[in-house]
């Protein structure tokens, strides 16, 4: 089981990093988006910085997920569908998405710190929000991508379905990140954090529960 998950993860990784276009497009998206916002905002502090950070992250995430399950229809990945169970494929993809979003989150943080300067004061809290937010968004997007993977126009549908759904996550993440930047002092931030975590857990549990009904073709 674990071996299967690991192999799916590695295969996704290899397929994405074998050709330079994939990693290059991530880099280009990040740098381009940051540069456009630099040119349009000129300076960016506090709340604006945090909001922009999460919005850019959300879209880069969406970018990845939109092609994740669709690309798996291609011939190069058919092998894994034969040998691995549905659960391990989905968990493997989930791991890969998580890896990807954490990687791009750190990259984006680095870029925005260089261009705008970083407002983050409490790095442990920022780390928690990035980690929890990534896991939550990752779970959400994976489930939605699973739902839409069978539909002809999966590209469009994934964004339509997942953007409204991702809102509570993004709002909570933005709130926690703002607190971590020291703009607002909030003593009840841990209730937000547990709330975000429990929401993610529920989403993951429900996703696992629905997996057999979604994975049938």
């Amino acid at each position: 089981m674990l071996r299967q998950i690991y192999s799916v993860f590695c295969q996704e990784l290899k397929l994405d990093f074998r050709d330079i276009t994939s990693i290059g497009s991530v880099l280009l998206f990040m740098v381009g988006a940051t540069f456009i916002s630099l040119k349009s905002f000129i300076t960016l502090h506090g709340v604006g910085w945090v909001a922009l950070y999460w919005i850019l992250l959300l879209f880069s995430m969406l970018n990845l997920v939109m092609q994740s399950f669709k690309a798996s229809r291609s011939s190069s990945r058919i092998a894994q569908y034969v040998y691995c169970s549905a659960l391990s494929i989905v968990v493997g993809k989930w791991c890969y998405h998580l890896f990807y979003i954490l990687f791009s989150g750190l990259l984006l943080f680095l870029l925005m710190s260089v261009f705008f300067g970083s407002p983050i004061q409490d790095f442990s809290l920022f780390g928690i929000s990035l980690l929890l937010g990534s896991i939550g968004l990752c779970t959400l997007f994976t489930v939605v991508a699973l739902i839409t993977s069978l539909v002809p126009q999966a590209h469009l549908l994934t964004s339509i379905l997942s953007l409204p759904l991702s809102l509570p996550y993004v709002l909570l993440c933005i709130k926690i990140t703002i607190v971590s930047s020291g703009l607002i002092a909030d003593t009840s931030i841990w209730s937000d954090i547990t709330y975000l975590a429990s929401l993610t857990l529920f989403a993951a549990g429900l996703g696992l529960l629905l997996l057999p009904t979604l994975w049938k073709s």
């Binding site: 959400l140 839409t148 409204p164 759904l165 989403a203 429900l206 629905l210 073709s217």
Partner: protein
């Protein structure tokens, strides 16, 4: 059962009664405004009061009080009634503590209107020493002197005024929407468990009507907001969350339209319905309570506290929910039959 007429007529009848009672019942008396807004300690001040639904002229025993924060009052020394709505009350403000600054509550009391209360009607400012001649004193309020208003009337609230009647339509339609969405959710779960396409059709019908109700809720709320908050759309958290909830359910419809295979359509849309409802729970119930809102019942309170919804309103509000829900079930049953007809049509054309 679903094809019988009685419950549809019951729903429509309840709505008619709700309309008649909800629009016909008068509001309790209230005070629209009083002028001046502030006076100094020890002064003699004449408050020009404009009432709403009041009977100043026909009432025989008129009295008026200004109440301070310690629940002590000073009563009006002179009452001049100009018309049913307009009256002037003259108060000799006590000297008491010269440096005190507080806002006083105006209580107008007669046997026809009961006791009418206008909070923070007059701001008491520091007075100059020359005003110290006043002989008036703060006295304890004689509660048994206050009249109660009679008959079945809706409460008068500042800012809201007559729009308090919107509770029966705007708030009730949100409740009905939730009942419809939850019915849809239950049917989606039933589909996932039993794999019967009928459940999928019922779920889709209920969700569709729920979306219509949600849009009506947004539109009516926008209307109400324009008259009370002054803008069609405010940056209120409940408003935005509701709009997003409607977006989520619209996405459900789009998902259904974009899949052509009947089986996978049912399967995926049922899964999405269950999943999106889970995300919706915090969106509607938890996040709005964590932030400030213009809506009543925020900051940790239940949405329908005793202050906002009194018994006279409840008597119309709950039937309104039932009536709108029955109407929603009726519409859903039509939508359900439509989907059956569609299926038959597809069958005929294959």
């Amino acid at each position: 059962m679903l094809r019988q007429l009685w419950w549809k007529l019951l729903g429509a009848g309840i709505l008619v009664i709700v309309l008649i009672i909800g629009l016909g019942t008068p509001l309790k008396s209230g005070i629209l405004e009083s002028f001046p807004l502030s006076a100094a300690v020890g002064e003699t001040v004449t408050l020009d009061v404009r009432g709403y639904n009041t009977h100043f002229a026909t009432a025989t025993s008129q009295s008026a009080y200004l109440k301070n924060s310690e629940q002590r009052v000073v009563s009006a020394s002179l009452i001049e009634v100009k018309s049913e709505q307009d009256a002037a009350f003259t108060f000799n403000l006590p000297t008491g503590d010269l440096a005190s600054r507080e806002s006083l509550t105006l209580i107008v009391n007669n046997e026809k209107d009961g006791s009418i209360i206008l909070p923070s009607a007059l701001l008491l400012k520091e007075g100059s020493p020359s005003n110290q001649s006043s002989t008036a004193r703060w006295e304890p309020l004689m509660v048994n002197e206050l009249h109660r208003s009679e008959g079945y009337r809706f409460p008068y609230r500042n800012i809201l005024h007559e729009t308090i009647r919107n509770t029966f339509f705007h708030v009730a339609i949100w409740f009905a929407m939730f009942i419809l969405f939850i019915t849809g959710l239950v049917n989606s779960i039933l589909y996932l468990v039993r794999r019967n396409l009928v459940y999928d059709k019922i779920a889709s019908a209920f969700t569709e009507v729920g979306i219509v109700y949600g849009m009506v809720g947004l539109a009516t709320g926008s209307m109400w907001a324009k008259f009370t908050w002054g803008a069609w759309w405010t940056d209120d958290i409940k408003l935005n969350m509701s709009a997003i909830a409607i977006l989520i359910y619209l996405a459900y419809l789009i998902l259904r339209r974009s899949i052509h295979d009947i089986d996978s359509k049912a399967r995926l849309s049922a899964a999405y319905n269950v999943f999106s409802f889970l995300i919706l729970i915090p969106l509607i119930f938890i996040i709005p309570r964590m932030t400030d809102s213009l809506h009543p019942g925020n900051g940790g309170n239940p949405a329908l506290g005793g202050e906002d919804l009194d018994n006279t309103l409840r008597l119309v509000f709950y039937p309104s929910i039932i009536g709108l829900t029955l109407l929603g079930v009726w519409l859903s049953s039509l939508s359900y039959r439509l989907s059956i007809l569609k299926d038959r049509w597809i069958l005929n054309h294959k």
